[in-house]
């Protein structure tokens, strides 16, 4: 089942609560040194591409292709960044804003829609409930490639090519979010809901004042997944968006890559800029991201 993270819940409810007890951080020198050394080597290998990206991005073009290789930039310059940010072939900040706008609108609507849908499926009794739930869940078995082309033809008919509508609506009715929230809602205690009922609350008030405040960890998890999914979407926007001003960041950066095939200084500057917002988002959402990931879809 999808379990709420105890730490996230405790944090939301009681910020003064002590940090949970950690396993003792014993560093057993003779035994742990090989493991530590191996981890250091792996970390260097993992960070090498990032170093190479940053180093290349501040090199003038001649230094990028010089041999022998310039391991450390000899003449660092921000020229590549300046050119990428003011390129007539497309403004990277504009693409970033497009991605942010689309992902935010999608996430807010999607989380709200999933909560509205999961609520009756988890907390009400009505004929057809199980059938509707399994019908929605069963749609997760349809591989995305099957709907790609018909959805594209629909976008033409709706006149949504080059419109953000095509980036927001087709993915809205995803079954995963409904599944995630329904599993969480099922586990909430009945008592609070019944108390609110006795006080005369209607079902919408129960959802808003009782269910949702108790579900913040799962709502945040779903929001993080939705935002990342929309932000990182690559296949679909590649085909439904062709106006350079309306591209999202991943697709826009890739058009740079096709234009400046070998101008790696500019390419690395654009990838570095494109990485900054996700880096900030990661640092902000790190805890939810990793905990949501480790609890989603896994039975404890």
């Amino acid at each position: 089942m999808v379990t709420p993270s105890p730490r996230a819940g405790a944090h939301a409810a009681a910020p003064v609560a002590l940090a949970p007890a950690r396993p003792p951080r014993r560093f057993r020198p003779p035994r742990d040194i090989p493991r530590f050394a191996l981890l250091c080597v792996l970390a260097v290998i993992f960070l090498a591409p990032v170093y190479w990206m940053l180093a290349t991005s501040v090199k003038p073009e001649v230094d990028v292709i010089s041999t022998p290789t310039q391991w450390v930039p000899a003449n660092p310059t921000l020229e590549n960044y300046r050119e990428v940010l003011t390129s007539p072939d497309g403004n990277i900040l504009r693409w970033m804003w497009n991605s942010f706008f689309v992902a935010t609108v999608f996430t807010v609507l999607h989380v709200a829609l999933c909560a509205l849908t999961a609520y009756p499926l988890a907390r009400m009794r009505f004929p057809g409930r199980e059938a509707i739930f399994w019908f929605i869940l069963g749609s997760m078995m349809i591989p995305g490639i099957v709907t790609l082309i018909p959805q594209y033809l629909m976008m033409i008919r709706f006149d949504w090519i080059n419109s953000f509508h095509s980036l927001i609506w087709p993915g809205m009715a995803g079954a995963f979010g409904v599944f995630l929230l329904r599993q969480f809602f099922l586990g909430l205690p009945r008592e609070l809901e019944e108390a609110a009922r006795l006080d005369g609350a209607n079902s919408l008030q129960v959802l808003w004042h009782v269910i949702l405040p108790l579900s913040i960890p799962s709502l945040v998890t779903l929001a993080v997944f939705s935002f990342m999914g929309s932000w990182n979407n690559f296949i679909w926007p590649t085909f439904v968006i062709t106006d350079v001003d309306k591209l999202t960041l991943p697709v826009g950066v890739n058009t740079f890559s096709q234009r400046y095939v070998t101008d790696y200084g500019k390419l690395m500057a654009s990838t570095a800029i494109a990485s900054i917002p996700v880096l900030i988002a990661y640092l902000l959402a790190q805890r939810y991201l990793i905990e949501g990931l480790s609890t989603t879809g896994l039975k404890e």
């Binding site: 591989p143 018909p150 033809l153 932000w231």
Partner: protein, 317 residues
């Protein structure tokens, strides 16, 4: 205990009756479901039928008529004379190769990293972040980065080969076979952190008492892994396996950005070829037929993932 059981049983029934009276209209739950179901029908259910319809007609965006052709486009895929058949099965072979190589690699490396990081060690949070971080990059950034790492002349890999090891540079990107190296290495680098996190969660759920008991019996580290860790991680491994296979089938961005499917279509993935047939060649019917055939292959693994999730859903009812 025996006293509380009837009480427990009676309470929900009573509550249900009371709620039933206050629920408002019997239509209320359906009103909640209406917006989702409307979008669901328009953007999920209808496209499946529409796609099947398109695959059985000769679809031309500009033509006046779209005649019914039945299974012609499906038959074309099994007729070795047609270019569609050649390119489609070539792309299937490429995707299959990528899946066969990358899935064991992705499971093995992420489990290995998780084992290295599970027990406390100096700087553990830092290492976890380092291995997780590449996964947050978008596929185009990751692809451009690895194309540059493996650039035929002056990429970092070739720079190390020539300047440090005194070897000849290898034209990774333009050599059939070798072009898979940057794609697979880049994919491992990119996705290892997600699976590692799942494995770390799985390792955290294994009770230490098993290991303590094994230690008393004098078990070697390998025996502890073989007889405790690996079997108890089986549910996580199944989940990682199924999701990784599905993700590998979806191969698209990595090959598009790193090699553009080349050299000579040797790294062209199935989704890349389907989109080429649809959006570059305007062969929507042919591409739809391929999508359905490919979808059928994927369905087996999608079904497995569905079962894993459905097991959780049933457990709650």
């Amino acid at each position: 205990m025996s006293l509380s059981v009837p009480g427990e049983a009676a309470r929900p029934r009573e509550a249900r009756r009371r709620r039933g009276g206050r629920e408002g209209s019997a239509l209320t739950p359906y009103l909640y479901l209406l917006p989702f179901l409307a979008l669901f029908l328009v953007f999920v259910v209808y496209p499946v039928g529409y796609g099947l319809f398109v695959s059985m007609h000769r679809w031309d965006l500009l033509a006046e008529t779209r005649p019914f052709v039945g299974l012609e486009y499906y038959r074309n895929l099994f007729d070795p004379e047609t270019p569609q058949s050649q390119f489609f099965w070539n792309s299937m072979k490429n995707t299959g190769f990528f899946t066969l190589v990358s899935v064991p690699l992705l499971i093995g490396t992420s489990l290995g990293l998780a084992l290295l990081l599970h027990r406390p060690i100096f700087g553990r949070a830092f290492f976890r972040s380092v291995f997780f971080l590449p996964g947050i990059l978008t596929v185009s950034v990751m692809g451009i980065l690895w194309r540059w790492m493996f650039d035929n002349q002056i990429g970092l890999v070739n720079a190390v080969r020539t300047d440090l090891l005194g070897m000849q540079p290898l034209p990774f990107l333009s050599t059939e076979g070798l072009a898979w190296v940057p794609i697979i290495v880049g994919t491992v680098w990119w996705t290892i952190g997600f699976n590692m996190t799942l494995y770390l969660a799985g390792l955290g759920n294994i009770s230490q008492s098993y290991y303590e008991a094994a230690e008393i019996d004098g078990a070697t580290p390998w025996a502890k892994f073989r007889f405790i860790t690996w079997p108890l991680l089986a549910p996580v491994t199944l989940f990682v396996f199924v999701t990784t296979v599905l993700a590998s089938f979806q191969l698209f961005g990595q090959t598009l950005v790193i090699t553009a499917g080349g050299p000579n279509r040797s790294t062209q993935s199935t989704i890349q070829y389907i989109t080429e047939e649809a959006f570059s060649n305007n062969q929507f019917s042919s591409a739809s037929a391929m999508a359905f055939l490919f979808g059928l292959v994927m369905l087996i693994f999608t079904y497995l993932q569905f079962r894993i999730m459905a097991r959780d859903a049933r457990g709650e009812n």
